[in-house]
Amino acid sequence: MSQSYAIGRLLRASTTACVVGCRVDQAGLPAFGSLVRIPLAHDYEIYGLIYDIHIDDDGLVRQLVTADGVSDEVLADNRVNRNVPVEFSVLHCGYLQSGRISHLLPPRPPLSLDAIYASDPGEVVRFSGAGRFGYFRHILRAADLPTGELLAAHVQQSASCHRSAGDAGWQNRAVQELITLLRDDYPTLMSVLGALGDVQEI
């Protein structure tokens, strides 16, 4: 198990997704589309993709935005001391059990306050390179997700990790799989390909 940094702790979860809270000053760490993992037991950890980042307000924050200038100390106070967490929504995409990666939904969801870690490049390669992109169906099935944007962010991150690991063909295989999965859903296919096209242009 990798000893990467914890980005937050679990607030609530279901079989398909969970919500993670972290302090505002940690918000620079995870990014939309990042692969994260939630170690639950010695040989069991859940993988997921960050699909939404939500920053809540409260009465004081609403009032502070009306000030002409907010001092650095007040900014730090609100980010470090005050209990206003950033919430990350994580879509469960698979799990690791007994050393084997599965792209099925995890058998048990994580529990309150379980720690969430950002996956390192090796873990990204291991997870996204296992099997035949079975976890794409979780992304495509989920309603109310920015599917195209999420896939584009994930493909961009993963392709970079695979290229660094010597597999330049991963991105092409991933796009071919998406075309196959979406062959009967033209609007979604176009949306996904449009987002992926933006990634490639960049």
Binding site: L60, Q63, S71, D77, N81
Partner: protein, 391 residues
């Protein structure tokens, strides 16, 4: 239905019908008060004599007299005072309740430290009151006494925090919400007197450190200076003996005198409070105050700031306090109030859910020890029933 709205509507209409006339009357009284202010400016020595004469006739008179500066002075914020460490403390309490299943009380004090260039630090200290803590001289603590214990705890916390900073050479200003003077229905109660003496001792200890101290009164309705101006009216009518009892300028308050005189950021002169109730605050603790306009252009908003004598006579501390309060209130945007005081309150406040949680913890501990906790009163049980529903 908790309110008889039919009756309420009639009373509200009746109130509304007299509102215009009342406003016109108030405006006339405000103008009279302002003209008295203009007339008496420059006669500060005469005003002091007038207050002393009136207090001989009525020792309960409360009035302010100019201590530093003219009656109509408007002091601009200092150019660039030395930066200082700012502390604020606020407290909340759980009053013992004889109707509750377990009798306990709590005093919770939250404090914030702010220093330019470093993230603020917060601390919270909770003290639970059980058994004999709940009684003084065989009497259960009253709400006034618990409030006094809270005020004392706030002040002690500020002293504990300020002392090491001062020993380290930092300039320090400490803030609390509300007046420095302690009020209470029970000033003759021996328990009140004991706590007041402790409070004064902590204030003296704070003075010895050289740290500043101030109480911030938001939306003040005090009439210390209006009371002063009224003395001139009463004297002209030969009725100075009625000072403090007859109020010819009522309901004008001090804010009405200064809201048009002070530009945003300006403060009044420092005034000394002359009142029998503050007689225990003597020497370096003698109570003073000034008004500060923390509002914006064309939207004045006055706060009263109470300071002890040792701050009033220290120009550097006064400047640091003036600047710190302006910086703090500006942080809160359109509703100016010191940010640090709001944060101290936020840290200190005990919610109803937390109180219930404490009750449950105490009950669980008693049961663990084989002691069955008591039951809440039947009256409380009835109050806790869910409210009636309406068709």
């Amino acid at each position: 239905m908790p309110i008889n709205f039919q009756q309420a509507v009639e009373q509200i209409r009746s109130m509304g019908s007299s509102a215009r006339q009342r406003k016109a009357d108030l405006d006339a009284l405000r103008e009279l008060a302002r003209s008295l202010l203009r007339q008496l400016t420059g006669q500060e020595d005469y005003l002091l004599q007038l207050v002393e004469e009136a207090q001989r006739k009525n020792p309960r008179l409360r009035a302010g007299v100019p201590a530093l500066g003219r009656l109509d002075a408007a002091v601009a914020p200092p150019a660039q005072p030395r930066p200082c460490v700012l502390f604020a403390a606020d407290g909340s309490q759980i009053n013992p309740d004889r109707h509750a299943a377990v009798e306990f009380g709590a005093i919770n004090v939250g404090a914030i430290r702010m220093r330019p260039g470093s993230p603020p630090r917060e601390t919270v200290e909770s003290r639970l009151l059980f058994y004999e803590d709940l009684f003084i001289h065989n009497q259960m603590l009253t709400e006034d006494i618990v409030a006094l214990m809270r005020d004392l705890a706030e002040r002690q916390k500020l002293f504990e925090l300020a002392k090491p900073e001062r020993e380290g050479g930092a300039d320090v200003v400490t803030l609390t919400d509300g007046p420095l003077e302690l009020y209470g229905e029970e000033q003759s109660n021996p328990a009140f007197k004991e706590r007041l003496e402790e409070y004064l001792e902590v204030m003296r200890a704070l003075a010895r450190t050289g740290a500043g101290a101030a109480g911030y009164v938001d939306k003040p309705r005090s009439t210390y200076l209006v009371n002063l101006l009224e003395l001139e009216l009463l004297k002209s009518e030969g009725r100075l003996g009625a000072a403090g009892q007859d109020h010819p300028l009522f309901p004008v308050h001090d804010g009405d005198l200064y809201d048009h005189l002070l530009e945003p950021g300006q403060r009044t002169a420092v005034f000394a409070l002359r009142a029998a109730s503050s007689a225990r605050f003597t020497g370096e603790l003698a109570l003073h105050f000034f008004y500060l306009n923390v509002g914006r252009e064309n939207k004045p908003y006055l706060a009263r700031v109470e300071i002890p004598h040792w701050v009033a006579e220290a120009p550097d501390l006064l400047s640091q306090l003036h600047t710190a309060l302006l910086e703090q209130t500006r942080q809160m945007g359109v509703r100016p109030y010191p940010y640090i005081l709001h944060r101290a309150h936020e840290v200190a406040v005990v919610s109803f859910q937390e109180k219930e949680q404490l009750e449950a913890m105490i009950q669980a501990e008693l049961r663990k020890q084989g002691v069955e906790p008591g039951e809440g009163s039947n009256k409380q049980s009835s109050k806790d029933l869910s409210g009636r529903t309406r068709m």
